[in-house]
Subunit: 253 residues, 2 copies
């Protein structure tokens, strides 16, 4: 996946998980542009439009057709078993298959309360399983999904300065940190810098058109777009960075 | 709400939003201890056990009994209208009422993917509305819910060092930042330092008992427990901190 895609290369397989309830939203425009742009360039695109699908984001026994312990729900044990015995509900298995299929995963969403809309968070809670996304000592650069890339494409309500060091919400990197580190990097994805649209309801048509133009360019350079560095497990002793003095201090605090 | 609670003071009204699917989990033990401890001390406690309630975390038109624009769902417009015209579904209005009632809000949850479980994130997406939680230029220290306190009480899978500056997940403060800043502080809550239980499945009964003992102490000092500073709007020019040079730079970048 390194370097820009060139005509004649194998098509990229792009999986867009779209989480907005309004078909005329700017999020919908972005996903529409992505599908058109990528397919025109010879790539393959699959979209999970979570609201349109009526996706259920609540994670519990409904995820499984198998049962390890009927008396106590230990999610990771149930997932490890279900991953080995085709034990997922049909709608989850379909999402798990799309995740395995893709080269690039895109989360398309509006920031709600500085986080993912619940329908998208729950898609992660349910679809990223022991066996198909992590487990067996495989994480970060050695993760189950290593070799793939992932990106957040999002809208935020306010304009740019509000999401700066001096803004009330702080930098967008701090807001997206749990998604980048905890979801993408942890499972092995290279984390592409987010594509952020600031205040789509506060800008005019020309600025919106410019955002879509920039987004098209980003989409065609997904294999080479800059990434956010994540933990490299060779630097770590277990889950803690190998710096003997600091490490010992942390363990004994 | 400043200072410790003393016998004879008005009882605290504590609202626990509980988000775990397993009744024998450590999260359930913590909520059980909280109810017992607080009621024994004369306080009032209400629990929303989201899994037990079958709470639906998906936010869209299902939130409302009123409609402003049937052709395009603009969530904030619908909320502003619904807040003025009793336009929420019954199960949402019940939660909105509990939020208004409480002095202290506690989120009790396991970290999933470095974030809130979707059922809890969606509770926020749906219950924190324009009119009842923000809007009309009221936010942060001047927020609609100013005067109340809020706290995350949570379990994380790993032990303490993993959530340090040297750990793969980084500090718990960075992980909880979007919740503290974007949900609690934004709406006016004073943000109590989180109560974090590290690796409840990796520790023995004595350590678990010690955690519960510490938690009881925290519960009885909720009015005086240390808080995490948030933005003070008098320091801001709109949503950007008043530092003329830096502010101008940010606006013109």
């Amino acid at each position: 996946m390194d370097g820009s895609w060139r005509t004649g290369d194998k098509p990229m397989r792009v999986f867009i998980v779209h989480a907005h309830h309004e078909p005329t939203s700017f999020n919908a425009a972005m996903t529409g542009e992505a599908v058109k742009t990528l397919r025109s360039a010879g790539h393959e695109v699959v979209v999970s439009d979570l609201y349109a699908m009526g996706f259920d984001p609540v994670s519990d026994r409904r995820n499984f057709t198998t049962v390890v312990d009927p008396n106590r729900l230990k999610q990771q044990d149930e997932e490890a078993y279900a991953s080995k015995h085709s034990g997922y509900s049909a709608e989850l298995q379909a999402e798990i298959d799309k995740l395995a299929w893709c080269d690039v995963l895109i989360f398309q969403f509006p920031i709600w309360w500085l986080g993912l809309p619940a329908i998208l968070k729950g898609w992660v809670d349910r679809v990223f399983t022991v066996g198909h996304a992590y487990g067996g000592g495989r994480w970060f650069d050695g993760g189950v999904l290593a070799g793939k890339r992932a990106m957040c494409a999002l809208t935020v309500g306010g304009l740019d300065p509000v999401y700066s060091e001096e803004g009330v919400y702080g930098p967008i990197e701090a807001i997206l940190y749990p998604v980048h580190r905890g979801i993408f990097a942890f499972t092995g994805f290279a984390v592409i810098a987010p594509f952020v649209v600031y205040g789509p309801n506060r800008i005019d048509d020309a600025v919106r058109a410019d955002y879509l133009d920039q987004y098209r360019k980003r989409l065609l350079t997904l294999p080479s777009a800059p990434t956010i560095p994540g933990p490299v497990m060779a630097d770590y002793d277990g889950f803690v960075r190998k710096k003997p003095q600091q490490n010992a201090a942390a363990l004994n605090k």
